[in-house]
């Protein structure tokens, strides 16, 4: 694993959730809020269509942060995010980030998840053990 330095980019990854990803995430997580799985319901409450679960996208951010230090799940010590834009199924999500600081065997990463210009997770700060 490469050593991390402040200012480095972490490896970006891209994933396109399919039409049924929110259904699978609902089953896996127990969050069956209909805005994520029922287009008619989503439209009735003023959304353009069903939207991705914010915590699914936070899961992708956690994956990027963990992968940046070799993929061991116990390296992720803290993750805080702000949910911004709504995520849409069947649209590519890019998760990218930079190393903010490295100190005492720990790094702070700044991670972003976006679908094109629509930033869905902003100001994500991950504390990872090196």
């Amino acid at each position: 694993m490469a050593e991390l330095h402040a200012g480095d980019q972490i490896a970006e990854f891209k994933v396109t959730p399919d039409k049924y990803t929110p259904h699978r995430y609902a089953g896996a997580s127990g969050d069956f809020n209909p805005i994520h799985i029922d287009p008619e319901f989503a439209k009735a409450v003023g959304l353009p269509n069903t939207i991705l679960h914010g915590l699914y996208m936070m899961g992708l951010v956690a994956r990027a942060a963990t992968d940046a230090v070799g993929g061991d799940p116990r390296s992720l010590k803290r993750l805080s995010v702000e949910f911004r834009g709504m995520g849409a199924p069947e649209t590519e999500i890019a998760v990218s980030g930079t190393v903010k600081s490295v100190e005492d065997g720990e790094a702070i990463l700044d991670v972003v998840a976006a679908q094109g210009d629509n930033v869905t997770i902003k100001n994500a700060e991950a504390e990872v053990e090196l």
Binding site: R24, V45, D72, P73, R74, R78
Partner: protein, 152 residues
Amino acid sequence: MAIKTEAVGKEWPATTYEVGKEKIGEYARVIGLDNPAHFDREAAKAAGYREVVAPPMFCVVYSAPALAPAMFDPEVGINFATMVHGGQQFEWGEPACSGDEITTTARCLEIFEKEGKDGKPSNGFYVFETISVNQDGQEVVRGTWTNIVRGV
């Protein structure tokens, strides 16, 4: 309209969740994680885990049930029609593994109102904390959940 704040400091009854190996795998597959420690007992043990290990964000599966009664408590009084999940933080301790019995307690940390920008109505902030401990009393995760209600 002034926001109700009497629920600040309130705690709700704890919930207990037993972590299952296949449930960990189901979650890991949706997120696209391929670390064998999330699927295979031998691989997890070889990596130094007690049992098949849950991905960090699996914490939503076992901690959210404790939060539900807090969010729906009429004393908190969240208007779900205009609520969004604004922010989230987790701090992890001992990893959660299959077979663990995790007990989570939810508490209301803060309720406050922030004036809207450019003459927009105020937003209400409802901040909850969940603390999850395993069967040995070790803290597994501490969550801070921020829900924003537009136009309180």
